[in-house]
Amino acid sequence: MSTGNGRYRNPMQRARGLGSAKAGTDHFWWLRMTSIALAILVPSFISVLVSMIGADLESVRAAIARPWNAILLSMFVVALFWHSKLGLQVVIEDYVHTRAAEVTLQLLVTLACAVGAFASLYAIGRIALMA
């Protein structure tokens, strides 16, 4: 904090713009944006899922392949994995105090969520193009 020219700087100078964390309110904002999206998409997802109980493979594929269902399901899985990544990030920041373990876990969570999201999009695309 008392390094170099920062010494005579008003604290306000550090808080302005992106702030001392250098990421601004990005994390806060996207956690809320994805939560609003999920608050809308989760009830529709549950109702579609419940309505498909007992359906055979072909009708499940046909339901996913319908244009708007495929689009909304794609947005749903992206929001889910994004929200998961942001949420787990905070949990790791709060409880893992060994720097090496923390960075490793953050990398693994980011990677796993990216793989999960792209694998889901691949599956939805394959189902949509197959039908």
Partner: protein
């Protein structure tokens, strides 16, 4: 509480630089073991716990989508696993966690918007979330089991 009688943990230790990042005289942050359990605290802990559990559910959804895309034996295995008694218990757990996290998440969003900060309101919304979680989860399973029958 840290003992000031122990020379290895007192101020003397600081001067010897044996505790570079800690100050034994600092007040401790609220600690789970000494706090009386209360609704607000339980709901906060549950929000985080259900959130972590639901990440597993999100990956289960990806696995299910891949099985639907692959079809054949993969889908038969996935459908069989989900329909088994153990699969149903897991799904029930996910559904309850999802409904709770969603409702309590809405509560958090309302707080973010500046609504419901008074203590009586915090308790009212807390009880509402708890009761609605049970009702909505029961409704989902009533519809699911009626649909399956």
């Amino acid at each position: 509480m840290t003992s000031t009688k122990d020379p290895s943990r007192g101020v003397a230790a600081l001067h010897k630089n044996t505790l570079p990042m800690t100050h034994p005289e600092r007040p401790l942050s609220p600690h789970l073991q000494v706090y009386r359990w209360q609704l607000t605290m339980v709901m906060s802990i549950l929000h985080r716990a259900t959130g972590v559990a639901l990440v597993v559910g999100v990956f289960a959804l990806a696995w299910w989508l891949l099985a639907v895309a692959a079809g054949g034996e993969s889908y038969a295995n996935a459908a069989g696993a989900l329909a088994s008694p153990f699969g149903k218990i897991i799904l029930f757990g996910f559904s309850l966690a999802l409904v709770y996290h969603l409702l309590n998440g809405i509560r958090h969003l309302l707080w973010d918007a500046g609504w419901g900060y008074d203590i009586p309101e915090v308790y009212r919304s807390g009880y509402a979330v708890a009761v609605l979680s049970v009702i909505f989860t029961a409704a989902i399973w009533w519809a699911a089991l009626a649909g399956a029958a």
